[in-house]
Symmetry: C2
Subunit: 395 residues, 2 copies
């Protein structure tokens, strides 16, 4: 342990700093000047402690080693920049890091770490006019429950009380909730910066909880074995919440422009699936449609499993109940169809998305494809996506 | 274990329901019809697991027992109604319950449970017009950092763009942050309900992070041994943030009425100390001053420890740099001085507050004292407090 005591490899050192995602005062996780990250946990009686996490943290789990009286520690190679979920396995029990804020992911509160990307300030809070993120509560006629959405209003919204704005409905991924896009994604700062630079038009962004399970039912959970019919049932219920409860409630409370030309829907991963499912059934409502790392449903066989459907050839005429069957008609109604994926995402997902893009393109459907460079199925992809997408909306 | 298998004592049973503070789908903590609560944790390799928590959960820690393959469980006697922080001690390591949302308390993310109070709906979300809670980011000239405050705007704020509103600055307690009053306290629903019933006037409520530590410094932590001089230094820095950064920023962004008659400051526990410290030095800014379970500083001896100061006689002439030395003048300037405590709080704290109230009253200073019935140093006290206080403001 001499090397450790001599400094540099583990713990807080002059060349390291606490992560921005830490709770105030927590010294670890700490990020070293060379990008390596040190994690610690006090657990004097533990037999084994490991560090594990989501895509982007690196090839874990990482065994931690006991330092002295009971502090366990590990320093991992520099993760890719961005936001990564993580947790500790404490004698096999998944626990959070008391040094980290928690973020809703994996259907529970989960630690997260923000790894800075040198030179990237598009998602930083900067000295530009800031919009506001507001809690919006509404009673759902579909679920019978009060639901919370978050609503971004652009800078100047209160100063121009007669101005009306277009609306982007922006959805999170599986296991996350309505807080993901602002807490993990920093969507409000991305939009503040784009709008201040006149790269995007001022818009209202609505972020809702993408679940509409019947009260008391087990929460919807996407898995390879789940049938497309079950997914359709769940998404149809969320579609009803969006169309019958959420959008009317937003239109009553905010100065939207409630026509098709001023409505967009986008979502990441499961939210991308929901976007394609819902928006393609409501082309009279949404003129802009974007799927960020969203698995694409190629056929229309309700008996197929979700996992199997990812490998299916994209059938332009039949997919999404024939929404693309008339490419010229589709192009005339839809101002933007956008699909994206990170270049480091799984081949299976990229193939699903890129196969659809190629088939649509070949059939004459106008579609924009954006590839986030070097990023996987993680928030840095979706931050890059939003930064590419938002400037294309409502032009 | 026959009794347990026979049902009723542990686990999800027909007579129990998941707590409203659980993450969606989590079956425990579950609250039984008779008010008892069952907690569980999966920890197959653990040697000991205990349940512990804040005031109001009951006389813990509660040992948990292993059920079958590795689920640990305990059912505790009915806690008092309200919100209670809790956690598990897993072989001595404090960990959160994956079944619970987390709430910022004890300077970290902490599990919490909401115990319903039969018949009490003053803090429930109801079918009344709702205000909004908004994120407000501002750059502090004092700390050099971007800070987040939360701002409640009352129902109708956007519909009446020329109407201006009084402002209540409402602060959290030690170890909590700006999210406490809305997430733990449900302040937005208390105000929605009071305003809808015309019991309180529509007002803007600003909730800030009550710390202003220099970047990189150890976070301020209140303790019995801390000297009053150190507390004064920390509060003076937060005072500067409030007066120089926060209030001017709010006045620029929201339609306040920026005069003394339309400004209130209130806070709970440490926030109550801050309220008395700051507002009593700025009687030209605040006409309404409320300390909710806030320890009162009786003397003015900077060498005294915080703990010792709680037992000191309240010296009306000298306390708070002589703010009360001229009772008639004070009464003429200040429209409301309000102090509150729960009837089940520690005698030490209640004596500190009630001693001050008695001394002030005897000296002719007008002061309202409110005692929350049967509640301790916990959020149910502060919900009751706000419900009593808000109707007295700006009348």
């Amino acid at each position: 342990m001499l090397l450790l005591v001599a400094g540099g490899a583990d713990g807080a050192t002059p060349d390291s700093a606490p992560a921005a995602s830490n709770v105030p005062g927590a010294q670890t996780p700490s990020i070293h000047a060379d990008g390596r990250v040190t994690f610690t946990l006090e657990a004097p009686k533990a037999g084994t402690v490991e560090l594990a996490g989501g895509d982007g943290l690196g090839q874990g789990p990482f065994p931690m080693t006991r330092q002295g009286k009971g502090a366990w520690s590990v320093t991992i190679p520099a993760p890719v920049p961005g936001f990564h979920y993580y947790w500790f396995m404490l004698d096999g029990v998944r626990v959070n890091d008391p040094g980290s804020r928690t973020y809703f992911g994996y259907s529970q509160e989960t630690s997260g770490i923000e790894i800075p990307q040198p030179g990237a300030d598009f998602y930083a809070i900067r000295s530009v006019p800031h919009g506001q993120v507001r809690e919006h509560w509404y009673l759902s006629s579909v679920t019978g429950e009060w639901r919370r959405a978050l609503v971004y209003t652009p800078a100047g919204y209160d100063d121009h009380p007669t101005q009306r704005y277009p609306l982007l409905l922006l959805q999170h991924g599986m296991g996350e909730d309505e807080s993901g896009w602002t807490r993990q994604g920093k969507a409000q700062f991305i939009l503040d910066n784009l709008i201040a630079a006149h790269k995007a038009v001022p818009m209202i962004v609505v972020m809702d909880r993408g679940y509409a399970d019947p009260p008391g039912a087990a929460p919807f959970a996407l898995s390879d074995n789940l049938g497309l019919a079950a997914i359709r049932t769940a998404f149809t219920r969320f579609e009803a919440v969006v169309m019958e409860d959420l959008l009317p409630s937003i239109d009553r409370s905010y100065r939207t422009i409630p026509d098709q030309a001023h409505r967009a829907m986008a979502g990441l991963s499961m939210g991308g699936m929901q976007t394609l499912f819902i928006a393609l059934r409501h082309l009279d409502t949404f003129a802009y449609i974007a799927s960020l790392s969203g698995p694409v449903s190629g056929g229309s066989d309700a008996n197929q499993s979700f996992g199997a459907s990812l490998g299916a050839r994209f059938d332009v005429a039949r997919a999404y109940d024939g929404a693309f069957a008339d490419p010229a008609g589709f192009n005339a109604r839809v101002k933007l169809l956008w699909m994206g994926a990170g270049s480091a995402e799984s081949p299976r997902l990229r193939t699903s998305i890129e196969g659809a893009v190629e088939a649509l393109h070949a059939a004459g459907v106008q579609v924009v494809y954006y590839q986030s460079p070097g990023t996987a199925h993680e928030w840095q992809t979706w931050r890059n996506d939003l930064n590419d997408l938002a400037p294309r909306l409502f032009r």
